[in-house]
Amino acid sequence: MGSLIPLIVAAALAPLMQALIIRTKSVMAGRIGPPLMQPYRDLLKLARKGAVYSHTTSWIFQLGPAIGLASVLLALTLIPFGGFAALSAFPGDFVLVVYLMALGRFFTVAAALDTGSSFEGMGASREVTFSAFAEPALFLAFAALARQTGQLSLSPLLAAISARTWAHAAPMLSLALGALLIVFMAENARIPVDDPTTHLELTMIHEVMVLDHSGPDLAMIEYGAALKLWLFAAIIIGVAFPWHCGHRWIDASAGLLGMLMLAIAAGLVESSMARLRLLRVPQLLLVAIVLSALALAF
C-alpha cells in the first residue's frame, strides 16, 4: 500500500534541509547565517522572474531543468520515509531510482553542453566522470542491502532493516552506509567533492553547469538539487536510523529527527574539511566502490 506522505514531506521540507546545512556551517564559522526560510524565498523570487535564453542555445537548453526536476520527483515516488511505504514499489525499483538520477544528469549535462561555453563543458565533463565512479558504488551498496534483507524493492528493503539487523550484520551495514555517505556527498556536490557555494572557481563541478540558466529554470534546478539531497538523505536515514515502533507517525517523526542530524553532520563535515583536489576525487569514489563491494561480499 503506497502513501503520498513521503513525497509530500520531501517536496515541502527539502529546501529546509539545505537551509539547515547552511545554518550549521554559519554557526561553526561564528556567523548568524541566512534565515531558515531563505531557500524558499530564493525559489519564489526565481520563479517570479523571467528567463533569459542565449541565441546560441536550442530547445535542449530549456528542456534540461524541467527533465532534471521531473526525474528527481519521479525517483522520490519510490523512496519510503519513516513508517510510510513509497507511492509505488516493485522488485528492482532501486535500479529505476539510479537510472532516473542518470536521466536527469544526462539532460543537465546536455543543456550545459548546448550553451557552447567551454566553461560549462568542463563542468559537464567532470560531472560525468565522477558520476561514472559514483554509480557503481550506489548500485553495489543497494545490492548489498538487498542481499542482506532479501528484498528487491526499496520500501520493504528499508522497512526490513531494524535494530536487530544491525545487531547481527553491523559490519556489512556500516560498510554499505559508508559507501552511501560518500555517494551522498559526491552526488549532491557537497564539500569533499565539490563546493556548492563557489561560483567563480575553475574547480567547481555542479554549479558551473547551471551558470547560464536563469529565472524559473534556475528555480527548477535549485529545487531539483534540494530534492536530490533529500532523496539520498532519506535512503541513508532509512539504513542508519531504522526506527520501526509500529506507529507510522512516530516513525516518520523519528525519520525527520534523523534527517536533522544528518543535515547537521553534513554541515560539520563541510566546515571541518577542505575540498579534495580534483585528481583525488576519483580515489574517494573508488574507496566508496570498494566499501560497497566489500559489503556485498561479506
Binding site: 553491523a170 559490519p171 560498510l175 566489500l294
Partner: protein, 217 residues
Amino acid sequence: MSQLINSILVFLVLTGFMLLSSSRLAACIRAIAIQGVLLGVLAIAMQDGRLSTVGVLLPLITAAVKGLVLPWLLFRAMREADAVREVEPLISYNLSIMTGAAALALSLWLGQRLQLPSHASPPLQVPAAFFTSLVGVIVIVSRRKALTQVLGYLALENGVYAFGAAAALRLPVLVELGILLDVFAGVFVMGIAIFHISREFDHIDTDKLAALTDRLR
C-alpha cells in the same frame, strides 16, 4: 564473538586499503600499527573464551610490538630520512586501489576454494589474511621509497599472522616469539639501513640505487 571477529577482519581489509591509497607515510605507518593491534585482538577473540595466560599474553606482546614499538621505530626512521610522503609511486593510487579490489576478489575466491581442515573459521578470515599479504606484495613492488617497502613487508607478515590465527590456533610459544623477534630485528635493521641510505644519498628512493655499480660510466 563472531560479530567481533568479523568486524576485526573488515577493519583489517580497510587498513589494507588505507595503506594502498594513502600517499602520506605517517598515515601508512598508522595503518600498519592499527593492523598490529587488530591482529592481537583477533588472536584473543579467536580463542573463544577458553583463555590461558600464555594465550592472552602472547597476542598482547604481539600487539604491543606491532602497534607501538615498530611504528615508533618507523616514525623515527621517517624523521631521520626527512621523508613525508611517497612521491610518484610506480602504480598510481587510483590504480593501486583497483589492484587492491582485484586482490580482494582473488582472495575471496581463494578463500572459497581453500577449506581449512581443522575447525570452522569465520568465512572472511582466510580471504582477509590473503588480502593483507597481497597488499604487502603490491606495496613492495609498486612503491619507490625504502620506508614504504618496509611497510609492505610488515603488511605481508601481518597477513601471514592472520592466516596463522585461522589455520592453527596454537603455535608453540617459542615459534611465535621467534617470529616476533625476527620481525622486530628485521625492522630494526631496515630502519638503520634506511637511515644510512638517506645519509649517504640524501634520499631513500630505491630506484636510484639501481644505478649503483662498480663500473665507471
